[in-house]
């Protein structure tokens, strides 16, 4: 990574090192959100629609897990994946896969908690009608998830925002290896500590642009949702 160029120059010139870092960041965080959704949406929907003893406690804990500190998640996953840890056999430490795992752990509670809230609110609205139409339990879940899809996508984008912005988890389990597990946030941390501020600033600009795009997407989706579903 060359230093001394101005931040904007780096961004605009399409520097391949910069591009590789951005690409890895997006790949890791998007994959993590995907897995987190595959876990979180069903869990959230299930929690919204079932009643059991201790349900209130589970909801409170799930909401609290939204605030899991990334470094703590990183440490926990690190201990699991280290060669001397229980899952050491898989040899996943210091790889992008480990980063995906850590971010999935971080983001899944967010998606689950937001899904639960969304589905529960919608169920309050739909309950009488779906019961009157004699809709079976599995079909109810699909209907609620489909009808709430715009809100759920917004929840996914919130999860992605969290993943893309964090550095604590992925720097621990990824090792910030040059050309292999270095993402925008870990690179910013590194370049700042090396004193190569123009590059760090350049990366920061790209990261902020991505965050803005995500938020614009979320806004656009909410608008579309309102237009389609009223």
């Amino acid at each position: 990574m060359s230093g001394g160029e101005s931040a904007l120059q780096l961004v605009l010139s399409g520097d391949p090192g910069l591009f590789a870092i951005v690409r890895l960041s997006l790949l890791v965080s998007l994959t993590a959100v995907l897995f987190a959704a595959l876990i979180g949406v069903p869990v959230g929907a299930l929690l919204a629609l079932t009643r059991f003893r201790g349900r209130e406690a589970v909801v409170v804990i799930l909401n609290a897990l939204m605030g899991l500190p990334p470094v703590v998640v990183g440490l926990a996953v690190f201990l699991l994946l280290s060669r001397s840890g229980p899952l050491g056999e898989w040899g996943l430490l210091f790889t992008p896969q480990a980063m995906v795992i850590a971010q999935t752990v971080l983001v899944a509670p967010i998606i689950a908690a937001l899904t639960r809230q969304t589905i529960e609110d919608l169920w309050v609205e739909y309950q009488a009608e779906l019961t009157a139409m004699d809709v079976g339990p599995l079909h109810r879940v699909f209907t609620l998830i489909w009808d709430a899809r715009f809100s759920l996508v917004t929840a996914l984008l919130a999860g992605f925002g969290r993943a893309a912005a964090e550095v604590g988890a992925i720097i621990i389990v990824g090792g910030n290896i040059d050309g292999f597990t270095r993402t925008m946030t870990t690179a910013i941390a590194l370049e700042t500590s090396k004193g190569d501020l123009p590059l760090a600033v350049g990366l920061g600009i790209v990261l902020i642009i991505i965050v803005i795009i995500i938020n614009a997407l979320a806004w656009g989706i909410r608008r579309t949702g309102e237009r389609y579903a009223g």
Binding site: L38, S82, S84, V100, W146, F180, S193, K194, G195
Partner: protein
């Protein structure tokens, strides 16, 4: 509609998770090394040459020496490449490493503010300089991260200057627990003294008001060594590929690559694999 989307998602995820290059011939090793070697840019220079010759991808985890050796102890690295001889020899004595090879050396320099509050600029005696810093209670930044640099700094205080730094430190001595770059940044921001390896100092881009205060003392000599993590303790260690890396580092070719690494015409590391007493 749901089933189709979920299927595509699952396939994509599996593709990513199976991860890494799909080529059967992909060769790589994990080397745990120090932040000073990384921050100086040495790896960026020599690793591509090694890859070109052998096709082996070297993945470097940069930490403090203490952490780097611990990573080796956990079996999370194939090779360790650090600069604290006593810690390395302890590593060997534990049976964690196979053999230690000296690779290169550079030196430490005492960095300080141009305003020189302790009055040590230009001195050649690091021991006396540290004593003056303590006497004047001039601000001093310590890496505090069990790195080779940190261990060297502690040895200079305790062994050479006769100061029990743990007992005698005051608010002027700040231990930050981070790498060389972060320590230099902190020193720059708080006009403090800091012990740095020359390599990181030369390549550091945020020098601000700092300059070299003391250099050249024999005590500031800094030796780097490399070891293969013991495959008998950690069967997953890639011992053939790891040994190839070590052999290349100490070979004339590798040694030349190290010597050729310069910033602004200044050489950072001096190869000395042939000095078996190092």
């Amino acid at each position: 509609m749901f089933n189709r989307r979920m299927l595509i998602a699952a396939v994509a995820a599996a593709a990513v998770l199976s991860g890494g290059p799909v080529l059967a011939q992909y060769k790589s090793i994990v080397v745990s090394s120090t932040t000073s070697t990384q921050d100086s840019g040495l790896f960026g220079h020599i690793l591509p040459l090694f890859k070109q010759k052998t096709g082996i991808d070297v993945k470097v985890i940069a930490q403090g020496t203490g952490q780097a050796l611990d990573t080796g102890r956990r079996g999370d690295a194939d090779v360790v490449f650090v600069h604290a001889k006593s810690a390395e020899e302890k590593f060997l004595a534990e049976g964690q490493g196979v053999k230690r090879y000296p690779v290169m050396y550079n030196d430490f320099v005492l960095i300080g503010p141009k305003s020189d509050p302790a009055g040590v600029k230009g001195m050649k005696d690091i021991t006396k300089a540290l004593q003056m810093i303590k006497d004047k209670q001039a601000p001093f930044i310590s890496r505090g991260d069990r790195s080779g640099t940190h261990l060297a700094e502690l040895a200079l205080w305790n062994k050479n200057a006769g100061i029990d730094i743990e007992k005698d430190k005051g608010p002027w001595y700040k231990s930050i627990g981070q790498g060389m770059g972060a320590a230099l940044n902190t020193a720059s921001a708080s006009n403090a003294y800091v012990l740095s390896d020359r390599g990181t100092w030369i390549s550091f881009k945020n020098k601000g008001d700092l300059a070299i205060a003391v250099e050249g003392d024999k005590l500031l000599f800094n030796q780097y060594g490399v070891m293969l993590v013991n495959p008998e303790k950690h069967p997953n260690v890639k011992k053939d590929l790891g040994q190839q890396f070590i052999d290349w580092l100490v070979s004339p070719e590798g040694q030349k690559a190290i010597a050729n690494y310069k910033i602004n015409g200044e050489q950072l590391f001096y190869p000395n694999a042939d000095d078996h007493s190092a």
